[in-house]
């Protein structure tokens, strides 16, 4: 499969997104400089959602330059030979995402069997995580990313 117009209803694309733990999100700063950050995400109604701080680099970059590029690895299926490259545009929303998106995030990352086990194993560190998030300035935000095109490329050159 080469380059294709993104269609969230395509079963193969949906499976690849579902099997990916992290999206590596590339953005451009207001000064035209590259930036990339790995983020948790879920899909909802054809878009990708990530939570972030309103003052995060990714949020500030998207606010001035909505174009984004993303890599997803399909790692939960054990895929390592190919990655999914997506291009699209993103918008910043200065609030938590919808309850439906929050529920999807919780189910994918905190309540899945392996996720819940990891949470329990690190229960003593939960207060530190709360302090970490409390230190974020600008309040909660999320990015809504709408992919428009995709491409399957080899995982390694």
């Amino acid at each position: 499969m080469g380059a294709f117009a993104f269609d969230a209803s395509d079963a193969w694309v949906r499976d690849f997104l579902d099997a990916s733990t992290v999206v590596e999100l590339a953005t451009v700063s207001p000064y035209g400089r590259p930036f990339v950050t790995p983020l948790w995400f879920v899909t909802d109604d054809g878009a990708l959602y990530v939570t972030t701080a309103a003052t995060s680099r990714a949020a500030r970059n998207v606010a001035t330059h909505p174009a984004v590029a993303m890599l997803l690895h399909g790692d939960r299926d054990g895929r390592r030979d190919r990655v999914l490259l997506l291009r699209g545009s993103a918008t910043v929303h200065h609030a938590f995402p919808s309850w439906r998106v929050l529920a999807k995030l919780a189910l994918k990352y905190h309540l899945s069997p392996r996720g819940a086990l990891s949470e329990l194993q690190h229960a003593a560190q939960w207060p530190l995580r709360l302090l970490y998030y409390a230190d974020a300035r600008g309040g909660p935000a999320h990015l809504r990313i709408v992919p428009t095109a995709g491409e399957i490329i080899p995982a390694l050159p």
Binding site: T21, V22, E24, A26, T27, V28, G32, R33, P34, F35, V36, T37, P38, H65, A67, V68, A69, M70, L71, D75, V83, L85, Y109, H110, R114, G115, S118, E119, Q121, H122, Q125, L128, R129, L131, Y132, I153, P154, A155, L156, P157
Partner: protein
Amino acid sequence: MTFVDDSEPAIVAVRARRDGERWRFAAAAPALDDREVVLLLDDGDWWFELRGVSVRGVARHDGDGWYTVEPRRVLAWSYGSLRLRRV
């Protein structure tokens, strides 16, 4: 690995290695010599397992298909290593 291509963000999968203090990568990408890049190596599925290194710098072509990143800023994180430090 990320760079800016025609004012748009571009990201490609690369083969990366660290040779001492040198961060190197091989990529099937346009010529990147003298261009600013960000090399990201990240790992982990669950919150307390998330860790990574981000190397921002200028790509220098080594002549063998590999590039060396002349680092400007290196950022590393490991959420499982969070510690409380009073400042």
